[in-house]
Symmetry: C2
Subunit: 144 residues, 2 copies
DNA sequence: GCCATGTTTGAAAGTGATATTCATTAACAT
DNA sequence: ATGTTAATGAATATCACTTTCAAACATGGC
């Protein structure tokens, strides 16, 4: 049985001796009910609609905690904004990014991952993480 | 016969109706005589040694022009600094980045590139550019 | 519950990289 | 040589975050 993200985060908070606060709960709810790849500002604006008194700094700090706890991953698509996406346990994927409309699609490719390891090995490297992003025109934008 | 980077940049400047200035020449010389993957600040410091009166803003502006002209490529390794690397015509490579010492190695892998196109095609995308970076420990750092 | 303690919060100020402004200077066409 | 336009550099602004700090809150022990 899989632990929910709420449970994972709560356990993380307890284990680290942190406190469970109303703000963290609310931010987690908004994050979990949002589409993937949200920028911090998007999340903040969505949050502010219902909770106008939660500060920007708290959102930043809390998203960092989400990443640390393993329920979120920080991503940068080169537009100067940090985004956070949901992380499912044991899952990994890379991204296709439309340079016109900004649409983001996800993909997994085992063969590419294997080849990356081979490349790294041939240079004496051991990979810890990697970043693979394909930028181009999505199907929709191509037809317009 | 290959055009030199100086020639390429000069042609670009002419074609765009820009002006050929002492500063641009000097910055180009320093860039061309530098190792790959230099941060803007590194370049500026190197430049300042011999040309203390060239402004930071001019360096930023000129490097952007280099990228636009095709002789340089902007890269981000996630350390918050933009780097510029030399671009050889028709050549492409990706990067291995050591998370300990910052060493950067380059590689090319035709198979990975092909698979990327296939992935993109299967999502209806047409790739314009891509970014593949492998982060981990280099051979040297692993032995320490 | 109530208190003591350490943590978290939000507003404001700070930071660091990059971009812009604007008066002055320099390049190029005529 | 002169006029036109672009480029420069110092200063200032911007943008995305990060830090600071006093006040508010969460939690464990009584
Ligand atoms: Mn994703
Ligand atoms: Mn390179
Ligand atoms: Zn699109
Ligand atoms: Zn190393």
């Amino acid at each position: 049985m899989k632990k929910t993200k709420k449970k994972i985060f709560h356990d993380f908070v307890t284990r680290k001796g942190l406190k469970s606060t109303r703000q963290r709960d609310v931010i987690l709810d908004v994050f979990l009910s949002s589409e993937r790849h949200m920028s911090i500002e998007e999340l903040y604006l969505k949050l502010r609609a219902k909770h106008p008194n939660i500060g920007y700094a708290t959102v930043y700090r809390t998203l960092k905690l989400f990443a640390e706890s393993g329920i979120a991953r920080e991503i940068q698509f080169g537009d100067g904004q940090t985004r956070y996406e949901h992380v499912a346990e044991g899952e990994h994927h890379d991204h296709l990014v439309c340079t016109r409309c900004g649409a983001i699609e996800e993909f997994e490719n085992e063969t590419i991952e294997k080849l990356q390891d081979e490349v790294a090995a041939s240079h004496g490297f051991i990979i810890e993480t990697h970043k693979l992003e394909l930028y181009g025109q999505c199907a929709k934008c191509r037809k317009q």
